[in-house]
Amino acid sequence: MAQSHKEVLTKGLFKENPVFIIMLGLCPTLGVTTQVVNGIGMGLSVIFVLVFSNIFISLLKNIIPNSVRIPSYIVIIAAFVTIVEMVMHAFAPAIYKALGIFLPLIVVNCIILGRAEAFANKNTVYDSFLDAIGMGVGFTMALILIALIREVFGAGTITLIPIGNFDGVLKIPLLYTYPVRVFTLAAGALLLMGYLKAFFTWFAERKRG
């Protein structure tokens, strides 16, 4: 591993973006991105779980026997997801409600298991922490980008977090009256994902020259 700490932190943003380049965690990506606020909530939960699972797996990498490493990772990840779920249900019921079924599904989000297997079990605790932050933020940015495009075109709105008198929903004229409904549906998610993947691949190749 010849990567500097800065590289470890920033590679998840673009160079190895979990959604657009490594193509991990596509199921929750396509599932939650109907509204921007869902993307934000899901992204933050994944960052939380990813940071703690990466730290603990990196700490335990010499204790866990190689033959049962995957079951061990899943137990650790599931424990953190359940903690997030219970704490959110008790102290932030609104976000808990908005995330619904996608919260328990973080257990099987392949980004978390993927980073545990590909990074945390080979690297130091500090690097694993940086990797989790970078990958988590990259995932969140990807979710927000997809959700923004889908919501603007598919529903003509941008749903953010309600603060005070602001109910959290921005309406876009014209598109609100005549939305391109397919973007909110599963087919639109796949189409958009394809175009975005093509764009990021083109961008990466152009940069390489």
Binding site: G31, V32, T34, Q35, N38, L60, I63, I64, P65, S67, V68, P71, S72, V75, I76, A78, A79, T82, I83, M86, V87, H89, A90, F91, P93, A98, L99, G100, I101, F102, R181, T184, L185
Partner: protein, 185 residues
């Protein structure tokens, strides 16, 4: 042999630590979650009661789709209908609906509570306006359980979530028939 033992013990140890941590977090959060769930039920009861008063709760239920029956009274204390807590099936699984009916089975007000519908699609059924299309149905006008039975605007509002709509509508219709079978008693 020793290798197997070591692997088994390590795995058991990790699981035991995880379980202990979860038990501890659960002990802290469970009372708050229970209080929050109670609050939701109470809020829903007072919302669907609307301008009417909530009467006593009827005990001993035999119907598995009706988990609670409360009496509904007008301001003079006359028994005019019921509030039912109903369990139905939507797109994502079970859903709970709180709905108030007059004695003749007419829907007064309804709210979708616990559910596992898709955020952004079926979840929209939680909005208070979603239930407008069921109001005043169930007696003279039947509860719309098919998309064809809706006005154009209402039909548009459920597009992308027709299975959720069918689940909600069937549950509300079931409640209406249940109220009719009670016969005002």
């Amino acid at each position: 042999m020793r290798q197997f033992l070591k692997v088994g013990v390590t795995l058991a140890l990790i699981a035991a630590i995880a379980a202990t941590t979860l038990a501890f977090v659960n002990a802290v959060t469970a009372p708050r979650i229970a209080a929050y769930e109670m609050q939701i039920i109470e809020n829903a009861l007072s919302t669907v009661a609307g301008k009417f008063r909530l009467g006593e709760t009827k005990p001993s239920l035999t119907d598995e789709k009706v988990s609670a029956v409360h009496l509904l009274q007008d301001t003079d204390g006359n028994h005019i209908g019921y509030i039912l807590q109903l369990e139905g099936i939507g797109y994502g699984g079970e859903l709970t609906i709180m709905a108030s009916y007059l004695n003749n089975g007419e829907v007064v007000e309804a709210r979708l509570l616990a559910n596992a519908e898709t955020p952004g699609l079926g979840k929209k059924a939680e909005a208070p306006t979603y239930m407008e299309k069921f109001k005043a149905t169930g007696a003279a006008v039947p509860v719309p359980v098919k998309k064809d039975a809706l006005q154009k605007e209402d039909a548009d509002s459920i597009s992308g979530a027709t299975i959720t709509f069918a689940g909600v509508a069937k549950t509300i219709a079931y409640g209406s028939n249940y109220v009719k079978s009670l016969g005002g008693k």
